[in-house]
């Protein structure tokens, strides 16, 4: 990690977005006081790890990426144990209700689905009624419905005034949940702002994605000269045109292809997303797919 300067405001949901290996987990674990920073200062809720470690722990809720809770304890037993570590907080029943695991109360942890395990993990993080919640890729590997259920839990926590710092490599998640987003790549913060601001910073609200049949070759500069186009990018199979004027760019593109006798094999458009922001900034995809 390199010269990361970041402020998270109380009551907001802040997302750290970036590919695997970008340094998200390292960043969040330094903030959680689990790793020591080589240099620099970390202040959490107005306190510092070296001075007020114990007091600070009781004010935070933490969910780690790879924790496997004890398999042969029940959901309620696990929560009761975590609840016992904190001076104040909700009851086990309230926690179960918050994460909608009431029906799994007496089930062993090993018999829970992936989504239920993650909700239990978040419930453990909520056991001390934290002011600040750290979540490290809580929805990785979950099906869409489980992700949505978890988002609802987090939205309720946020609505009650809690602060959230979440890492993710899902753009839609950041878009949906986060008030502000920091995009990380190779240990550096490369962009910071609300999802809307970041997308707007592209200067282009839409992306035209197309591919030409083999044997057709047209110079990128010609695409760049089309009306509305702000940026041209090529990856293995596709060309991506960022544009602010979709209605001008698409007809002009089709004209150009017809003139050059090039055949389209694929064409699509979408509204610009945080993924496009990342790609524009780094020239790489957020996820290796």
């Amino acid at each position: 990690m390199n010269g990361l300067d970041l402020k998270v405001l109380r009551g907001e949901c802040f997302g750290l977005l970036g590919p695997n290996g970008a340094g998200k987990t390292t960043t969040i674990e330094i903030l959680e006081g689990l790793l020591a920073a080589d240099a620099g200062e970390v202040e959490v809720l107005g306190q510092r790890w070296d001075r007020d470690g114990t007091a600070l722990r009781a004010r935070l809720g933490i969910q780690l990426q790879e924790t496997q809770l004890a398999e042969k304890l029940t959901v309620a037993e696990t929560l009761r144990m975590f609840r016992s570590f904190y001076p104040q907080g909700p009851s086990v029943d309230q926690l179960l209700e918050t994460v909608e695991l009431g029906s799994k109360r007496d089930a062993w942890v090993k018999n829970l689905s992936g989504g239920q395990k993650q909700r239990l993990s978040v419930a453990c993080a909520l056991a001390g009624e934290p002011e600040l919640l750290f979540l490290d890729e809580p929805t990785t590997g979950l099906d869409p419905q489980s992700r949505r259920q978890l988002w609802e839990v987090l939205e309720r926590f946020g609505a009650n005034g809690g602060t959230i710092l979440i890492t993710t490599h899902y753009m839609d998640e950041a878009h949906e949940l986060c008030d502000r987003v920091g995009i990380m790549d190779q240990g550096k913060l490369i962009a910071l702002g609300t999802p809307r601001e970041l997308v707007a910073s592209l200067g282009a609200e839409h992306v035209v994605e197309f591919a030409m049949a083999e044997g057709s070759s047209i110079d990128d500069a010609l695409f760049g000269a089309l009306p509305g186009v702000r940026d041209v990018r090529r990856d293995a199979a596709h060309l991506h045109l960022s544009t602010s004027e979709l209605h001008l760019t698409v007809p002009a593109l089709l004209d150009l292809l017809r003139q050059r006798d090039a055949r389209l094999s694929q064409l699509g458009t979408h509204s610009a997303t945080l993924e496009d922001v990342f790609v524009t900034l780094t020239g790489r995809q957020l996820r290796d797919e």
Partner: protein, 344 residues
């Protein structure tokens, strides 16, 4: 605000529940020593002065020989001439008499049982042939307290079990939690680290109590192995042994990251003690040169002191040196492991 559960109680309960929900662990802690006691108790039960078996070869003169041996109280078995070697080898008879003038005794010099049988057979046959004894001595067998093999074995098995469950119970739990990043998750809470370590010890004490009751109770009920010393002294020794090996388990597990690594270390620690510390046979069988080393091993201290209390009915003061050795092992390894412990 609702009531906060006690963290030490919750941690201890969690650990205890995890243990009793693991059928394999329950087997090794409770069933295994009972099966061991049972098997060894039956295999080495003392037969008292039961009838001695004597083999007689079926050939001319064999019937008369067999008759006189039967009258003298022997259990006689008849063998074909070409079966003698295998009968001796398989232990079907400790001695085989080949009729003749004089008769021939076939027996195994290397086996005490075989030698005794030869002497008894010779004695009986000489008498039957008319030998007169100058006098008949009065025999007075000793009824020493706890002198059977099973009496001697049970404290050793208990000691071995306390070592095994102490090392595994503590070490395995720690490394498992570390490998699954559960330790890291726990230190991310305001949990007191001392509570975590203490909970391992406390849940260990709960299983230990059951363990001692099961093993001693079983040996008493089925083999009549009695505790001749004070029960409280036995309890103190078992507790101290468990703490000592718990400390050792903590030390062994203080840095290991994987179950494989800790398993290797555990066996490295336990194997010499299984062999040297007098579980199945007395450690005095080893050369004098290594006796001082054997005596400072924690399992030797535990086994010796358990035998002094259980078999010999000695006072607690007599086992104070062993108590000191165990306390030192436990204390030193606990302090060392606190320094070395890797939470993440």
């Amino acid at each position: 605000m609702n009531k906060r559960p006690n963290p030490l109680v919750e941690l201890t309960l969690s650990r205890f529940r995890e243990f009793v929900r693991e059928p394999e662990a329950v087997f090794w802690v409770f069933a295994f020593p009972v099966i061991m006691t049972c098997a060894l108790g039956i295999a080495f039960r003392s037969r008292g002065e039961g009838p001695v078996i004597a083999g007689v070869v079926q050939q001319a003169g064999g019937d008369e020989l067999a008759d006189s041996l039967s009258r003298a109280g022997f259990t006689v078995r008849r063998f074909a001439p070409d079966d003698v070697e295998s009968a001796l080898r398989d232990g079907r008879a400790p001695v085989v008499v080949i009729p003749g003038s004089p008769p021939i005794y076939r027996y195994d010099v290397a086996r005490a049982e075989s030698q005794l049988a030869r002497l008894a057979v010779d004695n009986a046959l000489q008498k039957a042939a008319g030998r007169a004894d100058p006098f008949t001595a009065v025999a007075q067998p000793v009824e020493a307290v706890g002198s059977r093999y099973i009496d001697w074995l049970v404290p050793g098995l208990l000691g071995m079990n306390i070592m095994g469950t102490g090392l595994w119970g503590v070490g395995f739990a720690i490394v498992n939690a570390r490998a699954k990043k559960l330790l890291k998750r726990l230190v991310a809470t305001p949990m007191a680290k001392s509570h975590y370590l203490l909970s391992l010890v406390l849940s260990r004490m709960a299983t230990l109590t059951l363990e001692v009751v099961v093993i001693i109770g079983f040996a008493w009920l089925f083999f009549g192995v009695a505790v001749h010393g004070a029960i409280w002294a036995l309890a103190v020794l078992a507790t101290l042994g468990a703490l000592s090996f718990g400390g050792l388990g903590l030390l062994v597990a203080s840095r290991a990251r994987t179950i494989e690594a800790v398993s290797g270390l555990m066996n490295l620690v336990m194997l010499p003690m299984w062999v040297l510390s007098g579980v199945f046979f007395a450690s005095s069988n080893f050369p004098d040169g290594i006796q001082p080393f054997i005596h400072v091993l924690p399992l030797t201290a535990l086994n010796d002191s358990l035998r002094m209390i259980v078999n010999e009915g000695r006072s607690f003061a007599a086992v104070l040196p062993q108590v000191g050795i165990m306390a030192a092992w436990g204390g030193i390894s606990f302090v060392l492991s606190l320094k070395l412990f890797r939470w993440q």
